[in-house]
């Protein structure tokens, strides 16, 4: 665990977070940060596609897809129940927040892939497709939780399903991830060789740069939003990842996933979205309070997972695979 905590990726994240908490004026230009995010998603999409082109699909792969969809649909139900019982959040805010915890954080996933690589633990390329698939079902559950049994507000603008559908299915992270995956699959190992100088060697350094920006965002979000949250929602942001990861571990054991893949599924289930779901919630549930769900997912759960969650999930997956695998 100490190796992961002291890795440059985590240390740069911590640097950004501390700088923001100490009100440093440092910032990463917006367009540059967005370019970094696209680069990282393209890189892991491509690498996953190349690995998939070398792997035969088995029944287990389809089982993982099934488990991922169940997790993404189901986790918001648990998150919603926990929030409503403990936090005093309104139904809409609890549902919107719950949606974030059924969906995934792609940056946490990228950091976990790097941590697995450092630990020498192999993982399957198709998990990247799983990450993309888990972005969306949670949004459907969150909307159902928020809107069930409610009368339509005559004053509210009609929900444009096309607009929402585009945001859910064609948001930037899904397009770049799935696009990279397909291109990597088509290009195969030989085609990827020419791209390696751009997508392999600089990856670690660019990830550090991106984590610095993520640290700044997380620290700033926490500094501005923690007072409005209260203790119960902050506690939720710390225990909900453990609940999601535990359920993912149990399901991974049931389908006999190897340790590396189990760890990644735990990371996906234990992470909270900050790209796809906030955008969908602003369109479909604009009355929900973004300072609640963004502060929780970006300011509480994301740092927790980067610093403690990822090493914990990896250690747990290795232990479970050894004990029951």
């Amino acid at each position: 665990m100490l190796d992961t905590l002291l890795s440059p990726v985590v240390l740069f994240f911590a640097l950004g977070a501390f700088a923001a908490l100490l009100r440093s004026p440092m910032s990463v230009p917006q367009s540059f940060a967005k370019g970094l995010a696209i680069y990282l998603m393209m890189a892991i999409g491509l690498k996953g596609g190349v690995e998939m082109s070398q792997t035969a699909f088995s029944g287990q792969v389809f089982a993982v897809f099934g488990v991922a969809i169940v997790l993404s649909f189901g986790l918001p139900l648990i998150a919603y129940a926990a929030l409503r019982k403990s936090s005093g959040l309104s139904r809409t805010d609890a549902a919107a927040t719950a949606g974030h915890y059924g969906s995934i954080s792609i940056v946490t996933f990228v950091a976990a892939i790097e941590a697995l690589r450092l630990a020498g633990l192999p993982s399957s390329g198709y998990l990247i497709a799983i990450a993309a698939i888990m972005e969306t079902p949670a949004i459907v559950t969150a909307l159902w939780l928020a809107l069930r049994g409610q009368k339509t507000d005559a004053d509210a603008p009609a929900l444009d399903r096309g607009e929402l559908g585009r945001e859910i299915l064609l948001n930037a992270s899904i397009v770049v991830l799935i696009g990279g995956l397909v291109i990597g699959f088509i290009a195969g190992k030989d085609g990827f060789v020419r791209l390696e100088p751009f997508f392999v060697a600089p990856f670690q350094g660019i990830l550090c740069l991106f984590m610095l920006d993520m640290g700044l965002n997380a620290g700033r979000g926490l500094r501005r939003g923690w007072r409005a949250l209260g203790l119960a929602p902050i506690a939720f942001g710390l225990y909900m990842p453990l609940i999601g990861a535990s359920i993912a571990a149990a399901l991974s054991l049931a389908i006999r996933l190897p340790a590396g893949d189990m760890a990644l599924l735990m990371v996906l289930s234990g992470s909270a979205s900050y790209i796809a779901v906030p955008a969908a919630m602003r369109l479909a549930l604009p009355q929900s309070d973004p300072s609640v769900y963004l502060t929780l997912s970006l300011g509480v759960t994301f740092p927790f997972n980067i610093a403690f969650g990822i090493p914990l999930y990896i250690a747990t997956a290795v232990w479970l695979s050894g004990a029951f695998g």
Partner: protein, 105 residues
Amino acid sequence: MIPDLHDKLRLELIIESPALRRAEDILSEANVHGWTVLPAISGFDGRRRWSRGTDISTATDMVVLICVGDENILLPLLSKLHTLLKRHIGVLDIMKVQVLRDAEF
């Protein structure tokens, strides 16, 4: 020589980025001739400071929509924009301005 100036209304809407398209739809349905959208960098909403995010969804960004036009076109839009702002984060102001080229508006 000072050229002729023409009275118009200028509508300035600061709104969260995900709702921009909805605001633009309202303008375009009313056959407004044109508008401009600018990024908003940071601000204070009475409770907390906000600033432009760096994530690629732009879900937390705010934008400024500026539209200059005839009073008889812009004033009827206000109720629809008011309804939009009941649900989305944003503020709207309107002011009297003068423009040089009447035909452009």
